[in-house]
C-alpha cells in the first residue's frame, strides 16, 4: 500500500511541463490555457452559427451579431415572462425553442456550455452586474 501511494505521488508530480511547486507556472502554461480557452470559444461560435441547432435553419448570430444584445453579465435576473429569477441557460433555451423552433438543451449539454463560453467572451471587459435588465 505504502509503495503504491509513493508511486502515485511520483506520477502526480511528474507531468511534462508542470513545475515542482504549486505556485509556479510558466509562459508556456499560460499560452496553453489561453489556447484551450479560445478553442472552447470557437466551438461556441460554431454552435452559435449552426443551422442544425434548431429545426428551421435560423442561427443565433442572425439576430445577435457578435453575440450582441445578450447580456450574460446580468444573469441571474428576473424575467417577467418566465415568472421568476432565471439563469442564463434558461433564456438561451427560450431562444432555441422560439426563433429557432428547436428542442431545448439540458443545462449540462456540451453545446449549452459552448454557447455560454462564446457569448461571455464577446462581453469580456463588461462589469458583472447580476439582477440588472
Amino acid at each position: 500500500m505504502r509503495i503504491f501511494l509513493a508511486a502515485a505521488l511520483v506520477a502526480l508530480a511528474a507531468p511534462a511541463f508542470t513545475p515542482a511547486r504549486a505556485d509556479e507556472f510558466t509562459k508556456a502554461d499560460l499560452e496553453l490555457w489561453r489556447k484551450e480557452y479560445m478553442a472552447a470559444v470557437d466551438k461556441g461560435r460554431g454552435v452559435f452559427t449552426d443551422p442544425k441547432l434548431g429545426t428551421n435553419g435560423v442561427v443565433c448570430a442572425q439576430c445577435h451579431p457578435n453575440g450582441s444584445n445578450i447580456h450574460p453579465e446580468t444573469y441571474p435576473k428576473f424575467q417577467k415572462q418566465m415568472g421568476g429569477v432565471v439563469p442564463l441557460w434558461v433564456m438561451i433555451n427560450w431562444c432555441i425553442q422560439n426563433p429557432l423552433e428547436g428542442e431545448k438543451l439540458a443545462p449540462d449539454d456540451p453545446r449549452m456550455f459552448a454557447i455560454q463560453t462564446y457569448i461571455t467572451h464577446e462581453r469580456r471587459g463588461v462589469k458583472l452586474d447580476p439582477g440588472k435588465h
Partner: protein, 356 residues
C-alpha cells in the same frame, strides 16, 4: 407643426386590418407650414424580409409573417401611395425559391413596386436571377418633380467575389453579418460614373432621393453598416440643394444629416438588430442625432420590426414607421434645424429597456 399617427389611430388601423377596412393616412398628412407644391406625395417602403427556405415549399414562418403583415397593411393606406419601394434582402440565401416565394408574398400589393438589391439577394448568383425576374440593379426615374435613384451599394472587389470554392460558400459568408471573412460594401467606380452622368442631366434645385441597401455613410464596419466609397458618392450629391438617402440593411432606426444630404434608414420586416454600441469590443459611429429604439423584447415576435410610409413634401421627407409591437415613430426633416428630427421620441426612455 407636424401631426403624427397616434397610437389610437394605429390600433384602429390594426383592427381595420382584421375587419378588412382602411388605414387612414390622412392622419399623417404633414404640414410644414410651407405651401404644397412640386414633390408632394407619399410612397411606402418595405425592406429586409429575409425569406428563408427550410426545404422544399417550407419557409421560416416568422419572416413570412413579417412580410405578409407589411403587405396587408400597405394595401390599406389611404390616400394611396404613388408606389412601393422594396429595400433589399428579399431572400436570406439568394435562392430562386426564396426570391420567388418573396415575390409571391409581395404580389397582393396593389401598387407599382420598385426594388433595391441587398447582399442576401446578390451573392449566390451575383444578381443574375434578380436582373432576369425582378429589377435592374441600378436605375433612375422622375416622379412629380423629384429625381429618384436606385444604387447597388453592396458590391465588393473582384478578388473577394471570385475567391470562393462555390457560390453558396460566398453567399453564406456574406450572409453572416458579423463573419470576419466578409468584405466592406461599395458602390464602385463603374456605378459612380453612371451616377455622375445621370445627375448631370438634373437641375441642382431638383429634390433628389437616393435608395441604397447599405447606408452611403460610415457607421460600423464590422457589420457592414458601411459603404467604403460613401464620401465619393456624397461628393457627387453635394451640388444639389435637397438630397435624401434612404437605406435598409441595418434593421433599426437611424438618421443623420451631412451637408444638404438627409439620411434615413428603414426597419426590417424580419427581425431587428441591436445598435452597434451594444457590441462591447468595438467603437461605433452611430450618428449622434439618432435616438435609438428601445431594446427589443423577443417575447413579442414582431417587436422592433415593421415597414414605413414616406411623405415627400416640397422635396424633403417625413418617415413614419409602422411598428406592429411598438408605438409608431416619425422622423421628419425639420426646416428650422435643417436636419431630420424624431418628432416624439427624443425625450422618452424606459429604464429597463436602455442599451448598456
Amino acid at each position: 407643426m407636424v401631426k403624427t399617427l397616434s397610437r389610437r389611430a394605429l390600433v384602429k388601423g390594426a383592427s381595420a386590418l382584421a375587419a378588412g377596412g382602411v388605414l387612414d393616412m390622412t392622419l399623417v398628412k404633414l404640414a410644414f407650414g410651407a405651401p404644397s407644391g412640386a414633390g408632394d406625395f407619399t410612397f411606402a417602403y418595405i425592406s429586409d424580409s429575409h425569406i428563408q427556405q427550410i426545404e422544399g415549399g417550407k419557409f421560416v414562418r416568422n419572416w413570412d409573417r413579417g412580410l405578409k403583415r407589411a403587405v396587408a397593411e400597405a394595401n390599406l393606406l389611404n390616400p394611396k401611395p404613388d408606389f412601393v419601394m422594396f429595400g433589399g434582402d428579399l431572400a436570406q440565401l439568394g435562392k430562386k425559391e426564396e426570391l420567388d416565394h418573396g415575390l409571391d408574398l409581395l404580389s397582393p400589393l396593389r401598387y407599382d413596386v420598385k426594388y433595391v438589391l441587398g447582399e442576401h439577394d446578390y451573392y449566390l448568383d451575383l444578381g443574375e436571377y434578380w436582373a432576369d425576374k425582378i429589377s435592374k440593379h441600378y436605375y433612375s426615374w422622375d416622379h412629380k418633380g423629384v429625381h429618384f435613384i436606385v444604387l447597388n451599394s453592396i458590391i465588393v472587389d473582384e478578388a473577394w467575389t471570385n475567391k470562393w470554392a462555390t457560390p453558396m460558400e460566398r453567399m453564406l459568408v456574406m450572409a453572416g453579418l458579423d463573419d470576419p471573412r466578409g468584405s466592406p460594401f461599395m458602390v464602385g467606380e463603374k456605378q459612380r460614373q453612371w451616377l455622375a452622368a445621370d445627375l448631370a442631366k438634373v437641375p441642382k434645385s431638383t429634390p433628389v432621393v437616393v435608395f441604397s441597401h447599405s447606408p452611403l455613410q460610415k457607421i460600423f464596419k464590422n457589420w457592414n453598416f458601411w459603404t467604403d466609397d460613401a464620401e465619393e458618392v456624397q461628393a457627387l450629391l453635394k451640388p444639389f440643394s435637397k438630397v435624401t438617402v434612404i437605406y435598409g440593411h441595418v434593421h433599426q432606426i437611424q438618421y443623420n444629416q451631412i451637408g444638404a444630404i438627409s439620411f434615413h434608414s428603414v426597419m426590417a420586416t424580419a427581425w431587428p438588430w441591436p445598435y452597434p454600441e451594444t457590441y462591447a469590443q468595438e467603437g461605433s459611429l452611430l450618428p449622434v442625432m439618432t435616438v435609438p429604439m428601445n431594446r427589443a423584447d423577443p417575447f413579442h415576435e414582431r417587436d422592433a420590426t415593421g415597414w414605413q410610409f414616406v411623405d415627400v413634401h416640397t422635396g424633403n421627407v417625413a418617415l413614419s414607421y409602422s411598428l406592429p409591437d411598438n408605438s409608431p415613430r416619425v422622423v421628419a426633416y425639420d426646416e428650422k434645424l435643417k436636419r431630420p428630427r424624431d418628432l416624439q421620441y427624443s425625450e422618452r426612455t424606459i429604464p429597463p429597456h436602455m442599451h448598456y
